[in-house]
Amino acid sequence: MSVRVIDAGPLTTVQDLGRAGHLRVGIPPSGPVDKDAFVLANRLVGNPEGAAGLECTLTGPRLEFGDARWVAVTGAETPVTLDGAEMPRWASFPVRAGGVLKIGAARAGVRAYLAISGGLATPLVLGSRATYLRGALGGIAGRAIRRDDVLPLGAPTGHAVERRVRTERIPAYGGEPEVATILGPQADRFTPAGIAALFEGSYEMLPQSDRMGARFRGPRIEHTRGHDIISDGIPLGGIQVIGDGQPIVLLVDRQTAGGYTKIGTVCSYEVGRIGQVKPGQRLRFKHVDVAEAHAVLAARRAALSSAIA
């Protein structure tokens, strides 16, 4: 009932759907950056959508299975092999006891997700197994997995069979994506030229980006009167612009509050897409209003529920 880590990869963490309800004491939700890819991995192996799995960053782990399980790998475009044989992504397949699964280096995208039938059974901390690295909370002792860790597995509850995500629903991670963005909470602290820069420019993902925030470089976003505000809550996807006029999109491990102006907020359903933009790749912010965003969110939720053939 466990999996042994032969190689961990540079940053592989245990995640579930996150630790809701603790923002008010300064604890961010954590959870997968690309929630849709994570949920689909779980559904493919017959798990509840919040079962704990692994988030791999750029390169995945090599794992030895202690007993027979079904697995699925979604997210970043990585080679997946089982005992050296190439396996499909966005599809479930069985692993025998003793089988060695390897998730390789991402060709496109950044974060790959591994779901295992039964889910990872690491301890619940404040109601969640998600790893919050800066707070040393959850997962395996609050840290990324390491070589020789033994990851406990739960008893499979669902019905595991071969399932696959419909081909047309598998996202492409290349190119220059557009992410829907709502103005506010502090759009009034930016000049019209600053707002135009955000929506007309293209922004390059910087390598300093992590689960806390995605940092970008592009056309300068001009403030009206300084970048300081009285500290307030930072929403998921909040676009903080500090003195250098460059945007930082705050993600799942974000600081809960901060004193910098936020020009806008990337829509929740685009956060996962940002998490798949590689350093050096560019993206654009596309202006939408709240009503448009709610319509798209409802459509995305419906699409997710019919994504598996």
Partner: protein, 243 residues
């Protein structure tokens, strides 16, 4: 001064910020906490989480359960009822603090800058009642004011890259206690052996928005004794409740 009407600021498709004023003020903050309390008490369907800060409440919601118009109307109605009196009694938490020396390595420099003797600085700092406006940035870190004006001090010109967890520090009119080792721009006057954030504990967070805090100066021997009790999971800080 509160705004005549709250500002409802969009924060993406799942959250709205209810901003009551543009200042750091105890009364404004009490209204923010009262609004949060009313939302919890009434159990508004579709509101999934709340996050209070100095003068605003970030409200997360599920638009499949409550539409934006209905949410806004509900929040505006609740703001009208959100008076400090609706809040339950505040807790006062006593925080032991070892001042000066290696624990409070900037006490002397801060006292020198303000033209005070270090002992007087400690007397003034520990004599005040602190109010926790909110908790955040890092897990369990309280944003507090309450210091006598005499202790107002500009932030450090060159922020430290590392401040030990438990450091009690001041900057401007604010006092904070670093909950995890982190960079910092406040003057470190002392350190508490109590953990404000303990990821191994069942309840990892000591302080909550709305709490009051009193610092009790402890000598090094008592600091070490409390630190040992904390490490053994046996220390319980003194907590009282009062209006």
């Amino acid at each position: 001064m509160s705004y005549p009407e709250p500002r409802l600021l969009p924060c993406g498709d799942l959250a709205v910020s209810v901003e009551l004023a543009d200042e750091i003020d105890r009364e404004v903050n009490a209204r923010v906490l009262a609004l949060e309390y009313l939302i919890q008490q009434k159990g508004i369907a579709g509101i999934t989480e709340t996050l209070p800060t100095y003068r605003s409440l970030l409200v997360y919601y599920d638009p499949a359960v409550i539409g934006a118009d209905e949410l806004h109307a509900t929040l505006r109605a609740l703001v009208a009822e959100a008076r400090p009196e609706v809040l339950p009694p505040a807790r006062t938490v006593e925080v032991p603090c070892g001042y000066g020396g290696e624990l409070g390595f900037e006490l002397e420099a801060a006292a020198g800058k303000l033209g005070l003797a270090p002992e007087e600085m400690v007397r003034l700092h520990a004599g005040a009642d602190y109010h926790v406006y909110f908790v955040g940035f890092t897990p369990g870190l309280p944003y507090m004011t309450g210091m006598p004006e005499r202790l107002n001090i500009p932030r450090l010109e060159n922020p430290r890259t590392k401040t030990p967890a438990g450091s009690v520090a001041i900057g401007g009119v604010q006092c904070c206690i670093y909950s995890v080792e982190s960079p910092g721009g406040f003057w470190v006057l002392g350190r508490t052996p109590v953990r404000l954030y303990d990821p191994a504990a069942a309840d990892p967070i000591l302080l909550r928005a709305g709490d009051r805090v009193r610092f009790r100066p402890v000598a090094r021997a008592e600091y070490d004794a409390i630190a040992a009790e904390v490490a053994a999971g046996q220390f319980r800080p003194r907590v009282t409740e009062a209006r």
